[in-house]
Amino acid sequence: MSDLNGLFEQKIQVINLGLPAFYKDLQHQEIPVVQVDWNPPARGNKKLQSLLGKLKK
């Protein structure tokens, strides 16, 4: 926990995965941030995930 506290005492540089809203919020606060365009497999669509899984057996 103490390490985590220390993190926020430093100048923060962020790599944001996924939701762009977090990226935009940090940008507004002028915190250096890089956005990585990431989505869960099949964008979270369970049916497609299951179908794709059958081909990977």
Binding site: N39, P41, A42, N45, K47, L51, L52, K54, L55
Partner: protein
Amino acid sequence: MEIDLERANQQAIEKIQGGNPILKGIGIAGEVVPGMDEKLILHAGPPVDWENMSGPTRGAVIGALIYEGLAAGATEAEELAASGEIKFEPWHEHNGVGPMAGVATSSMPVWIVENTQFNTEAYCTFNEGLGKVLRYGAYAPEVIDHLKWMETELAPILKETLANLDKPLNLKSLIAEALEMGDETHNRNRAATSLLYRKLTPALLETSFKTEQKKQVLEFIDSNDHFFLNLSMPAAKAMIMAAENIDGCSIVTTVARNGTETGIRVSGLGDRWFTAPAPVPEGLLFSGYSKEDSCADIGDSTITETVGLGAFSMAASPAIVKFVGGSVEDAFNFTRKMYEICDAESENFKVAPLDFRGAPTGINLLKICELGITPQINTGIAHKDPGIGQIGAGLVQAPMECFEKALEAFVEKYAE
């Protein structure tokens, strides 16, 4: 069924990369297109009946029936089209492609493109120019007169022109060169048309026709930046045909729209269509029109995207955003994003602004479903009502539903 997916896809990629489309010649659809007859009308996209046809497709059918002399006017043409006497089938099921409504009938002249490496042959009608033209659903008397001129003057002159060439035009080389000159050969064909003009003119001047007739043909080609589109499309079709029907292959071999539905086909699933309602493109509309006037996505020209051209090569064609909308950065990003759903980079078509990286090629159904990224398309926009014509150009994405249905069928065939 036991399959080696990776190997099957690799085989398809090799077929696409190795394709060598050349301009073999010009013929009459009824004489050269397989299965063509006088009562058959070919159209763009997946199968559709008269009742469900989009406005532009209906308009083009009306025009085609008048052109063929099967109907005297629009009312008679509509009655005939609804009577069941006329058959409607996709161009794709007859080894061809048609831009926008893509309507073709037996008397129309067609380009014949041969993929000499894999012995496939593809067909496409001639490009009529922009504005009020049959492919956008216009059927006024001047549209029909123009089609007749294409049949009786343009086609014979160009046919003799091609016969005068020392060797057939290599379309792969010409497209590759046009890409380096800022085309993507779907919605920007200015460089490709210019290159074609340069190649054809000396041979055209040697034909036996009158000077006035030759001049008219040269002026027509010169005035129509999209003239080459109807060659880049069958070139792409002839290339991708070699990659069709490979067992276990998840490469997408067709993306096509008829203004009602978008349909796709996948190599390992043969001739089966997977369809979804066609979305309406966003874009730049001509003055006086709004999105409410737009027809849903239409045309077979997305065949270009299946071999890495069109929106997949938009980074090679930054100026196209002036025609289809978006920013230059968007054009770059479309190409970058398409690498994610493709299996290869083209050995033939290079994107100069990306340091000559090969265009994203070989759309993989499984990657689309895994990443939730669907193929980017740039397109002309037709008015939703028959008889009006083009109202703009824009951008659209193939609907995910097509790919979800195809994945289900793919798993059913190969994993269960």
